[in-house]
Structure formats: structure tokens, C-alpha cells
């Protein structure tokens, strides 16, 4: 039990921040609580470095929460979207155009500050696969961003 208390005290804020970056505010408390309930139940399986493992649990919990909200949303309504990159419209637009798979690995590196070996734990892939995935995602983001930034469209909408 002492180990759980240590994990909770040390990583509660990081897990909460992870969840807040990906979920509507009204879901955060429930998801964070669920993550630590899983941690308590599976304490014997928590690795020595628990944070990536906690993020992995949070990721699955968030996916369940999203499915639950989508099922319970009235037909035709819009379920709240993930928080986007803040304060950078061009980046937000390019980021939003990526697949969720690409976005998540970029978030883990840029927002959680994880090295790729830890991101691999969160995503459940090998370190090599994670590295390839990261570089491809980064390239795709750069391509989206650069294409949008460098193209100068005709404001009249006519080419010639």
C-alpha cells in the first residue's frame, strides 16, 4: 500500500495533465480516478518506472470513456473534441488533419516530454516501431504545416 501512495503522490499531477490534454474537463476526474483504481488493483504488475504504464492505462480508460460518451450522445449531436494545440492556429489546423495514431505519438513526445522508449510502453509497440512511427508522424505534420504555410492561394479563387 505504501508503494501505491508513493506512486499516487508522485504521478497524480502528471496523469491528470495527460488526461486533461485529451478529454473534456468534465471527464477528467472520473478518468484519473479510474486509472489509479487500476493501479491499485494491479500493483504487482506496475513496473519500476510507473509513469509510462500509468499513461497506457489512462489511454485505454480514455478510449472507453470516449466510446461511452459517443454511445450515449443523442443522434446528430457533436461529442466534445480533444483539446487542440493552443495559441497556434496553423499548427492546430495541421495537427487536426493528422490521424489519431500520429497525433498521439507527437503528443507523448512534445506534451508529456517522454523519450521514445517510454512512448513505446504507452502505445504498446516496440521501441523500433515507435521510433519509425514518430518520425513518420513528425514528417506528416511538417508536410501539412509547410504546404499550408508556403502555398499562396489566389484570394479571388480564380487561377488565371
Amino acid at each position: 500500500m505504501q508503494r501505491f501512495e508513493e506512486i499516487y503522490a508522485e504521478h497524480r499531477e502528471a496523469v491528470r495533465a495527460y488526461v486533461r490534454r485529451r478529454a473534456p474537463e468534465d471527464a477528467v476526474d472520473d478518468v484519473v480516478a479510474d486509472v489509479f483504481v487500476v493501479c491499485l488493483r494491479r500493483l504487482d504488475r506496475v513496473p519500476e518506472e510507473p509513469l509510462p504504464w500509468l499513461y497506457a492505462v489512462a489511454r485505454k480508460t480514455l478510449a472507453n470513456e470516449r466510446r461511452r460518451r459517443e454511445r450515449s450522445a443523442p443522434a446528430g449531436s457533436v461529442v466534445a473534441r480533444d483539446p487542440e494545440p493552443a495559441g497556434d492556429a496553423a499548427l492546430a489546423s495541421a495537427f487536426a488533419a493528422l490521424s489519431e495514431r500520429d497525433r498521439e505519438i507527437l503528443r507523448l513526445v512534445a506534451w508529456e516530454g517522454l523519450p521514445l522508449r517510454d512512448a513505446a510502453v504507452v502505445l504498446g509497440c516496440s521501441a523500433v516501431a515507435c521510433r519509425v512511427r514518430y518520425h513518420r508522424a513528425r514528417s506528416r505534420l511538417a508536410a501539412r504545416l509547410a504546404a499550408a504555410a508556403s502555398f499562396r492561394p489566389d484570394p479571388e479563387g480564380a487561377t488565371r
Binding site: A110, H135, A146, R160
Partner: protein, 220 residues
């Protein structure tokens, strides 16, 4: 960490934690590998390099080598885009069709990069690397349009004689012939209407039909 793009993304963190992004260890190794690759490339005789340009782009039109500084000159956004996308110091000038000058290369990631310049015009010009075009040219990807989904200008694989823009119902919105692997339609398809790009051979047989990625609006 020296990755400007990831630092920019980190700066836009909606819930900042104060923990800086870690430098991916692979990036450091890759940088060293790139330096080695550049040294190796410099050792290849120019003639041999010219012979390989067709292989580089994967099309018959290998073009002529020009400095990237000569592509879309006086356009500061281009420099940043090229830096972000790891483009080298040269591109291939593929030719000018219907007033549109085409340049192409592959960047360090192997993506096909294209620049279009409507010579003498102020607008509808730019540069991008098409990460969605992995494998071009291939059986499934026989034409690259730039910018995707908004123009019918671009580069086509060998054997493609005509490129068409189709709507979601398969109706032809615009079509244009291919000359020396290049195509440049006179008319812009209606905004947001292009669902796929179809390529045809000289006999009118369909070679490929590629869904168009629906990205963010181009331009800023």
C-alpha cells in the same frame, strides 16, 4: 532539443507541465547518419548523380538541377518550409506547362516534394512535401497534385496520358492532359468538391483512382 517543430508543438501544449520534450535518441543517431550520407553523396561524380535523377524521382522526366535558392525566389515562407522538410540544396526543374513551372525532389525522409510557380502571377504558387504519396510512382499512386484537393496541377507517373478530378459520385469535375509527366489544368475544380484523382492511359483506360486526402485549407 533541437527539433523546432516538436518545440513548437510543445509550446502549444494546452496543459503545460513544464517538462521539456525529450530528444529522441534516434534523432541524434540519425543526424550523424545524415552527415555520413552527405559525405558519401559528395563523393559521387556529378555525371553518375545525373544518371540517377530519374531514379530519384521515379519518372522519366529527370529535369535539370537547379539551386533551391532559385525556386520561388523572394518567397520567405518557402525557406522555412524547406528547412522544416529537410530538403537539400537542389531541386529538379521539370519544365513549364500552361504557365506553371514545376520543380521536384525527394527530401531526406524520401517524401516527394514539389514546388509550383505560376510564372508572373502573384498567387497559386508554393511548395510542399507529400507524405501521403509514399511509394509514388506505384500502381496505386500514379499522380501527385499540389496542393492536394484544391488544384489539378502536378506530376504523373510514366504512361499516364490524362488526369481527371472526380467528385464523390464519380463525375468528372476537370481533366487535363499529361505532357512529360506534368499536368496543369486551366481551371480550378470547385473548392472542396474533389473526392478522387483518376489517371488514364493514352487509350482512355483507367490506371488508378486515388482518394484525395481532406486536409486543412491550404494557405495562410
Amino acid at each position: 532539443m533541437n527539433d523546432d517543430l516538436i518545440l513548437r508543438l510543445a509550446a502549444s501544449n494546452p496543459v503545460p507541465s513544464g517538462r521539456p520534450p525529450a530528444a529522441p535518441e534516434s534523432l541524434r543517431r540519425r543526424r550523424a547518419a545524415l552527415v555520413l550520407a552527405v559525405v558519401a553523396a559528395a563523393a559521387i561524380p556529378t555525371v553518375a548523380l545525373a544518371d540517377r535523377l530519374g531514379d530519384l524521382l521515379g519518372i522519366s522526366n529527370g529535369g535539370t538541377t537547379v539551386s533551391t535558392n532559385d525556386v520561388l525566389p523572394g518567397y520567405p515562407a518557402l525557406d522555412q518550409a524547406m528547412q522544416e522538410l529537410h530538403v537539400g540544396g537542389t531541386m529538379q526543374y521539370l519544365g513549364t506547362l500552361n504557365g506553371v513551372a514545376f520543380y521536384a525532389t525527394r527530401n531526406a525522409d524520401g517524401d516527394f516534394c514539389i514546388a509550383i510557380d505560376r510564372v508572373g502571377a502573384q498567387y497559386d504558387k508554393g511548395f510542399g512535401c507529400l507524405a501521403s504519396a509514399v511509394g509514388f510512382p506505384s500502381a496505386g499512386v500514379k499522380a501527385l497534385t499540389f496542393p492536394p484537393a484544391s488544384m489539378l496541377d502536378g506530376v504523373a507517373a510514366d504512361g499516364v496520358a490524362m488526369v481527371e478530378a472526380l467528385d464523390a459520385n464519380g463525375n468528372v469535375l476537370a481533366s487535363t492532359p499529361v505532357v512529360d509527366n506534368l499536368f496543369a489544368a486551366g481551371d480550378r475544380p470547385p473548392a472542396g468538391s474533389v473526392a478522387s484523382i483518376e489517371t488514364l492511359d493514352a487509350n482512355g483506360n483507367v490506371l488508378s483512382r486515388q482518394p484525395v486526402p481532406q486536409g486543412p485549407p491550404s494557405g495562410s
